[in-house]
Structure formats: structure tokens, C-alpha cells
């Protein structure tokens, strides 16, 4: 039987993988990245990232994580989530300003710029939250 700590760390691990997989998957859709990578490497990374993202998403919805939700979702977790998503909001705003600047001054495709904003806006807070949740407490 898994302890609440193991469930909590497991969930954070899946969240971390999910955030990274999403970022890699979406980066593979950016034209600049597609041009820079060899076709076979691009296909491999893209397929791996989508698979990992799907697997981790399904895992996060598994009963092992949802059943213990009331205990795992304690107030430290809620604070960590609030901190991570507040931080993510500001990162998202900065990224949106940079994208606006790039769109106004370069010929970069708009869909690539928007995808970059999406990657940062979605992945950054998820990864930060997962890292905060995985931080190991000191011993007894």
C-alpha cells in the first residue's frame, strides 16, 4: 500500500514529465525547430513527447491519485500551486510582450510565436509546481 508521501511524490513526478513532454511536443511543431532538426530525430522526439504526455495524463487521472486527493491536496500543496501559477502568470505576460515585440519587428510566423507563448504559459507553472512538490523534506 502506497503512503501519502509516495503518492504525492509520484504525482509530482508525473506532473513534471507531463509539463516537459508538452513543451517538447509543442516545440517540435515550431517551423524553426523543424528546419533545424533531421527528419528522423524530429519524428522520434515528436512521437515520444506525445506518447509521454498522453501516458502521464492518463496516469494522473488514475484512481491511485484521485482517491487520495483529500490528503495529498493539503494546504502546502495548495500554496505551492498558487505560488507556481502566480509565477507562471508573470512569465506568461513577459513572454506575450516578447512575442508582440518579435511579431512587430521580425518576420517570424505568428503561429510559431503563439506556440512559444503557449509552451511557456502551460509548461512553466506545471513544471515549477511539480518541482516544488518533489522537494524532499529534511529527515525526522
Amino acid at each position: 500500500m502506497l503512503t501519502v508521501d509516495q503518492i504525492s511524490r509520484g504525482r509530482a513526478g508525473f506532473l513534471l514529465s507531463n509539463g516537459i513532454a508538452f513543451a517538447v511536443w509543442q516545440m517540435m511543431e515550431i517551423q524553426l525547430v523543424q528546419d533545424a532538426l533531421v527528419e528522423s530525430i524530429h519524428s522520434f522526439l515528436s512521437a515520444s513527447a506525445v506518447t509521454l504526455w498522453t501516458v502521464t495524463l492518463v496516469a494522473l487521472l488514475a484512481p491511485a491519485f484521485t482517491r487520495e486527493r483529500t490528503t495529498v491536496e493539503d494546504e502546502l500543496t495548495r500554496r505551492n500551486r498558487r505560488t507556481a501559477f502566480n509565477w507562471g502568470y508573470w512569465i506568461f505576460i513577459v513572454c506575450a510582450i516578447l512575442a508582440l515585440f518579435a511579431a512587430s519587428n521580425t518576420t517570424a510566423p505568428a503561429d510559431d510565436l503563439l506556440r512559444a507563448v503557449l509552451i511557456v504559459g502551460v509548461s512553466a507553472p506545471v513544471i515549477r509546481f511539480a518541482v516544488m512538490e518533489r522537494a524532499l523534506p529534511d529527515g525526522e
Binding site: 490528503t71 495529498v72 494546504e75 502546502l76 500554496r79 529534511d138 525526522e140
Partner: protein, 70 residues
């Protein structure tokens, strides 16, 4: 703005009660990380959690928690 601080003597009273962090965490329905963060002053618990901890350790709230001097 100065960040919130709350002194506590949880480690001492938890030791007296013969409880591990994990056991205390179980009894108040939080993770061990939360207990550890409160003990080390990294996280200021809500009033409800602080009262639950004080009840679990059978120690008066004001003995367990105090505001920093000054």
C-alpha cells in the same frame, strides 16, 4: 513587506508525544512534507491546521506556536 513568521516548538512536543513526522501527518491528514515545513518555519499553517496539530500533540496552542519578538 515582511514575510509572515510563526515560531513553534513542534519538534520538541512531537518528540515528547513519541510521534514521528509521518505519524503526526497521518493524524492531522496532511503530508509529512507539510509537517516538516511547518516545523522548520518554512510554511505558516492555517488556524485550522495549527489547532489540529495542537490537539494531536495534546499541547495548548499558545505553547506550540508564538509570534516572533519585536
Amino acid at each position: 513587506m515582511e514575510s509572515e513568521r510563526l515560531n513553534n516548538s513542534m519538534k520538541l512536543h512531537r518528540g515528547r508525544a513519541g510521534l514521528t513526522q509521518a505519524q503526526l501527518a497521518d493524524s492531522v491528514n496532511v503530508t509529512r512534507k507539510t509537517i516538516n515545513s511547518v516545523e522548520n518555519g518554512v510554511f505558516v499553517p492555517s488556524t485550522v491546521l495549527a489547532l489540529k496539530i495542537s490537539r494531536a500533540l495534546q499541547t495548548p496552542f499558545e505553547t506550540l506556536f508564538s509570534l516572533p519578538e519585536g
